[in-house]
Symmetry: C2
Subunit: 913 residues, 2 copies
């Protein structure tokens, strides 16, 4: 491909004259329309989702206005070379326009029968509202008259023209939307009217004059009259919009690579605003909230497409059922346009049987004729995804494996978290649309920035807005839930919240927000920023104060799909759980054992921390032993309870890991308290605190280093574990499997020394021949690079490894999780790291160390049991990695257990494919 | 080998009846004497140094009293199995005793002609005074009379007997030396005498009664009369002494593995205390301080061997020259025993021509007859080592390569550090013997514990003692220098200090130390603990206060040997130097360039730190740029000066590495000062300090992460470097080679981004075609495990790697150097780490990462230049590792440059062998 850099003045326009010799000509343009198409649904990377969908619908013979797609490759060239196009592009576009002209019978710039087109972005992945769109392109001072005469509606024509100028001014020429809105407001004030519909054709003509002057004033340039100039400018603007701030943020949040680029779709205009027999709408082929197998969507009569998505007018339901469900008084399309509705139902069946998945479609009705403008795989709630997948298996559309692959493991989060307790007292404040399910509770904030600020400070917040826009993405992400006072189920807020898995109530129109005074009002109730609000995204209720929650009840579809998943996965799924309640929850969610029980959390409980501190403050082994004697029975009963809950499932207990200073107080008052409890001087305590303090606690005196230097601590823990195991094996008359795990190992010698210690204590507790009921094994964490390298030697003394990928990431990358916030965002922005390496495993670095450890460990001990227990164990990508490198188990927090089960199954299925 | 555990009551005695069938019989005992020997010098591991030396001397026909060696393997069995011996040992010992009896004509326990033996330890490596010795064994209430009649000296016989009881009581039965000394003191008080020599045979008999009662009182057991029992008890005590605390400490300090074990040498007694024609002495075949080729040593007339080493009596010189040099008034052996002296000279020639090295020998003269009791390679000062090596090359005894291999690189430290300025004013306090060369200055301390405590707190201390003992080792190691008021050139203090390379003045007898009041006095001058003292170990001067020092003048032998070394080594040696004075020193010591110039040290200089802090406090890029503009000319002039000094040698400059918060103040007053200087509120400064503070600064926002997030800082530094280079290339009319090094890289992307930045700034500064005179290269530190793994990708953007092994050790092992003190000593004690991994590279872990990085880096870029610049670059073992893995350079601090040169040469020579 040859590209040419265009001087900055002409950025976005075509480099016309560049000569390029190519042996094989790259195709930059893919046409569609009239039941044919150059492209198809398989070309999403090249044509974007919208372009591929339009091509596919055209091939299917669905009513698609003719047009063409400029490929994502052009975008990449354009953005890399600061506004250069491939030299052949101009003639390609001209040819494609001619084809549209032939099909429509209209001509670009023809004053009597002008061709009008839309110019829309369309990336590989859907990025709702992120990039720019221009409609009605081709209108100018002359062609507007042609539109008027052909539509027979002068007012419509000039309204369309002023909309075009406004969009073009905003999107292409950088003139603020607000400046146009002000002109319009002034016009209405002058005329003494309130609604746009009150303006006549003449009024619009006057607005147009002001609009053009506004552009001239603010840019020093005239609004271009030449349709070709308009077109090239609009294409350039769409390509540039790929790199705007909100698009970049969206891609970051959704893990979309910046180098994918967007395609541009140029398509003959159809008008949903040509009167009462015209409409525009958005629909899903099944209900995206519940998965119910019924057409689901909204439409607006006499409106242009963007009006629905923008959520400014509250739209009407497509079906009678939908109308009833939403208590709407406006007529459904099923009632008001029955023929079009039937046509839409046919389209729905065609698309579903073709795509075998729930589709999200956009359409326009122009004077009673249906036109399809988009189809794509529809976003859905996790519940809906489960139901759709299970239903489609039952309908014979897809296989069980396909169903398993179709569920985004992370989306299960939505199903697993608590919902509002129906019996809890609720103070209903207002009711809106149940736009995204789940319960959320937090402090009211009114701006995205404030949401982000407070969330970073650890507060849970609810973002409350009139409506949301792409600028609010970061705040929506930071919030627990989103509430809007305007907009419908397909408004920006609703779509984005569902995608993020955030509960959302949309269009709670009784609420009035006053951004100025930072308060909101429902009749005479006033809520201020910082007050607590609860949302029920499943019912649309907005509640004052905090409301109790209950555990979710999982649907039959959930267990059906999980059973298909479990049948496929090779890896076992354990849980990281420190408390009996965590263990119970994990078992309920399918955990096959405990992969990581952190004993130090038990140390912090009231009544224990005193003894623990006494132990740390003791200067002698005897003093420490005396204090540990007090801790022993407490730890023993903790372990016993966990062994009881876990039944015969293995329980892996990690010996003390954090440095001792973590248990000591730092404030004056607390120091005094500890000194009194320990019967010593506050100065002694302070001195000990200072002595134990570390410059880099992460790399400090912790883990097995504590066990080597203060063996009495580990002895107590091992004793407590095995006494508890023996007790439970005895009382329940069944075997207990305890896995004792040594943390923060750097070299084999450490494991050897502690293996001796553990074995010695075990012989003491269980007797030299062991107690039949108690099976214990000794293993290690692998969480230091050196341990990964020494895995072969370590495996001589360890029967299992558990990869502590949090610490392994910190040490391999030299990256303190607590301190990375200062630069990691910059790194993500500059593409230096893909995803946060603390969320998704760094395959090249940390991953290679794991791979090495697996190989070396298994070489020494072929039946070495391998697990991961860092937080990566609940991240689907990382779970796939674990499957690939041959781990036996992943261990994750209880709520992530189903996610890991599903991800493990997907990895196994993908491997078989 | 079959071993048998002996019941604790009988620990140390023989397991008699155990039956063991062995196909091949292990030899536990090696006899020597009468011009023959079972062993030889090659069996040091099995026989220990002393045993091998005795065997070899016996084979050479030198006069060695007959005896046998119990091997180190027996020690290992004994200490592992808590006091068990191989079953065949008893009969082997009996046989060996019979052989001695035959040679000497005396018999064990024979009342008329008793065989007396010494029982001495002897490990593979010399551990002077660390383990126990028993002399005169075989004496009892009956045999003492035989000794009396055969020696014709009743007094001698009973003195010998009481000495034996005292040693045996102390070493074998655990009765304190002090309790015996008190009995002796009381006896002297009762008799009204002051010297031991004033006691008659009858007096000794009375002492013996009290000694035996003392043992009975304190242990409940009788002093054993049976010589066989005495022998087995003594052998067990020597084996046990291998594991005593001071021996363990010594081995730790000297990197001697605990599993080597000691041998036990049982040898017929000869007596140096049989009158004025008897003597005992210690000698070196050449002067161990200067290397001069002359017999050098001391002797004591009418004394037993231990009296010399203990340093209690001040001994006489062997030669007339030695007597003159030490201003002694006592007759030399050359004068008083000319025949014996000539015999000793013959022995000296025999040993040197046989061993081809300086030997350290022990001998006893019994009634005019010379007996050799020990020979071993003699410890020597670095200067002596150089002279001996060079002289022996000249004498044709060894080759140049052997000479190079013979110098311990670390010992060069002694030559390179400053000595006292002869023109500086000195306030002479006292004069002792020049026991170990070099100048030392520090605060006076009187106990080893205090020395260690203050040294850990960062103080420099001089340990002042009457005499030192093995219990003081840790304090001697912690001290800058050692001063004793008693003892000679071969006293404990002198020998150990020379071995450690610590300056030492021994026997400064004018000084009186009062431990009680913690002061010392010379006539009417009083010095208290904490006062400053200076020692000149080269002259024996003890000086009050601090005395100016001068740089050492290196001898011709030094440059001769270094030239032989340089001719052999493959690796280049660079220096870590941040200042012009460091650079000058390094060039003088042979550095071939700068391998690491840390720019941050320049940031701290007065006048700069204000601008640097201003930069950090700025909230905008512009603010930072403005502050950096002020720093630029300062850095430029620093670099220019270094380029001038280094001539055409390459200079590697590391871009800013530490996190920014390291430059901010923490105290209130300083905060205020900075706020005023920056014209901002103190709260703003405090907030910034808090915001930048890190939990784990080692893994924080540092190194290239600063360069990526605040590119303007690195831009300034690169500009300063290249402007300086261009300036010097221009003014000096010669090329300048600047290597720009990016620190703390974790992934290739970082290097790519910074390569772009550096190249851009370079193009700006040097012009697009570069300035002919300036050659610059971009490289990286490899100091994170992930960087080592990603070396292949990183090498695409880096022309050189420098291994930052300090940080690589910290991250690979998860070991914060600042925090490791809490457990590393325990680890060393338990043998979990060999040497401190921050001193000697951890070959298995860190080493493997380096190996991988070397392989992967060179695969991408075959001419990749590889260097190490961690502190390991000056450690001989680590230098050898660098040679093995194929690095091109090592870089170390200026004073370590010769050490690295020598170590690199030794590695190359060993490789050729």
């Amino acid at each position: 491909m040859t590209v040419k850099t265009i001087p900055s003045a002409a950025v976005g326009r075509l480099a016309v004259k560049a000569a390029a010799k190519q042996t094989k000509r790259t195709k930059w343009i893919y046409a569609f329309g009239n039941g044919k198409a150059d492209g198809d649904v398989g070309m999403k990377n090249l044509l974007g989702g919208k372009g591929a969908g339009l091509a596919e619908m055209s091939r299917l013979g669905l009513p698609v206005p003719p047009g063409f797609t400029v490929t994502t490759e052009v975008c990449t060239i354009f953005n890399k070379q600061l506004g250069a196009y491939p030299p052949e592009l101009e003639s390609d576009v001209n040819t494609a326009i001619t084809v549209i002209e032939k099909i429509t019978g209209a001509r670009f710039g023809d004053p009597s029968c002008p061709l009008l087109v839309s110019v829309r972005s369309g990336a590989r992945a859907s990025m709702p509202g992120m990039m720019d769109t221009v409609l009605n392109l081709g209108l100018n001072d002359e062609t507007v008259n042609g539109l008027a005469s052909r539509s027979g509606d002068m007012r419509f024509a000039f309204d369309s023209y002023r909309r075009f100028i406004q969009m073009f001014g905003d999107v292409v020429m950088g003139v603020s939307h607000k400046s146009f809105e002000e002109i319009l407001e002034n016009q209405k004030l002058d005329l003494g009217v309130t609604l746009d519909t009150d303006l006549s054709a003449e009024d619009w003509k006057s607005v147009i004059v002001d609009y053009k002057a506004n552009i001239r004033n603010l840019t020093g340039e005239d609004f271009p009259q030449d349709p070709k100039t308009q077109l090239w400018d609009a294409i350039g603007a769409v390509f540039r919009s790929w790199m705007n701030g909100r698009a970049i943020t969206y891609r970051k949040l959704n893990n979309i690579p910046h180098d994918w680029g967007t395609a541009v779709n140029v398509q003959a205009m159809v008008f949903g605003n040509m009167g009462e027999d015209s409409a525009t709408g958005v629909a899903f082929t099944r209900n995206p909230s519940t998965g119910e197998n019924t057409l689901y969507g909204e439409y607006l009569v006499n409106a242009q497409g963007e009006d629905v998505v923008a959520g400014i007018r509250t739209p009407q339901q497509l079906t009678i059922a939908g109308k009833q469900a939403s208590n709407s008084t406006l007529p459904s399309m099923e009632e008001s346009m029955p023929e079009v509705f039937q046509e839409l139902q046919v389209v729905r069946y065609r698309l579903e049987s073709h795509y075998r998945d729930l589709q999200d479609i956009e359409f326009t009705v122009q004077r009673g004729k249906l036109y399809m403008l988009q189809t794509r795989v529809g976003k859905r709630t996790a519940n809906a995804a489960l139901k759709v997948a299970c239903d489609m298996v039952a309908e014979g559309l897809i296989t069980k494996d396909q169903a398993v692959l179709r569920i985004d493991p992370v989306s299960l989060n939505q199903l697993l978290h608590p919902t509002l307790d129906p019996r809890a007292k609720r103070q209903l404040l207002a009711k809106g649309l149940p736009a995204s399910p789940g319960a959320a509770c937090g402090r009211i904030v009114f701006t995205a920035d404030e949401a982000e600020r407070l969330a970073h400070a650890g507060e849970k917040v609810i973002l409350c807005r009139g409506e949301t826009s792409p600028e609010d993405i970061h705040g929506m992400h930071a919030a627990q839930g989103i509430m809007t006072t305007r907009g419908g189920m397909t408004s920006h807020a609703a779509v984005v919240a569902r995608g993020m898995g955030r509960p959302c109530v949309a269009g709670a129109s009784q609420i009035m927000i006053d951004y100025e005074t930072r308060m909101m009002r429902v009749s005479d109730t006033v809520l201020r920023e910082g007050d607590i609000l609860t949302l029920d995204g499943g019912t649309g209720e907005v509640l004052s104060g905090r409301v109790a929650t209950i555990e979710p009840k999982l649907s039959g579809d959930f267990s059906r799909l999980m059973s298909w998943a479990d049948a496929r996965r090779r890896m076992g799924v354990l849980t990281n759980a420190d408390t009996p309640s965590d263990c119970r929850k994990a078992v309920e969610l399918g955990a096959e054992g405990v992969g990581l029980c952190r004993t130090e959390h038990m140390f912090f409980e009231t009544g224990r921390i005193v003894a623990v501190r006494e132990m740390i403050l003791a200067n002698t082994v005897e003093g420490r032993r005396a204090a540990l004697e007090k801790v022993l029975p407490m730890q023993r009963s903790d372990f016993a309870e966990i062994f009881k809950i876990m039944g015969e499932r293995p329980v892996t207990i990690r010996l003390l890991d954090p440095p001792l200073h973590e248990f000591l107080p730092h404030g004056e008052a607390e120091l005094l308290e500890v000194a009194e409890a320990a019967g010593t001087e506050v100065e002694t305590v302070r001195a000990r605190v200072v002595k134990l303090d570390e410059v880099n606690p992460m790399l400090g005196h912790r883990g097995c280093r504590v066990g080597v230097t203060y063996p009495e601590i580990y002895e107590m823990q091992v004793r407590a574990i095995l006494q508890a195991a023996a007790e439970v094996a005895e009382s329940e008359g069944r075997p207990v499997e305890a896995e004792i795990m040594v943390p923060f190992v750097a070299m084999a010698g450490e494991v050897k020394v502690l293996e001796e210690l553990i074995t010695r204590v075990a012989d003491e507790v269980l007797g030299p021949n062991g107690t039949g009921g108690v099976k214990y094994r000794i293993g290690t964490m692998i969480e230091l690079p050196r341990a990964a390298l020494a895995a072969g030697k370590i495996a001589k003394h360890a029967k299992f490894f558990s990869f502590g990928t949090n610490d392994l990431t910190q040490t391999a990358m030299g990256l303190s999780r607590d301190d990375a916030a200062g630069f990691l965002p910059t790194y993500e922005e500059r593409g230096l790291v893909g995803r946060d390496p603390f969320v998704t495993i760094d395959r090249d670095g940390v991953g290679e160390l794991i791979r090495m450890a697996v190989l070396r460990g298994r070489e020494t001990r072929p039946d070495l049991k391998l697990c991961i227990c860092g937080e990566h164990g609940g991240d689907p990508d990382s779970v796939e990695f674990c499957h690939e490198v041959g781990l036996d188990y992943v261990s994750c927090s209880p709520y992530r257990v189903p996610i890991a089960r599903l991800a493990a199954a997907q990895a196994a299925i993908r491997e078989m494919a």
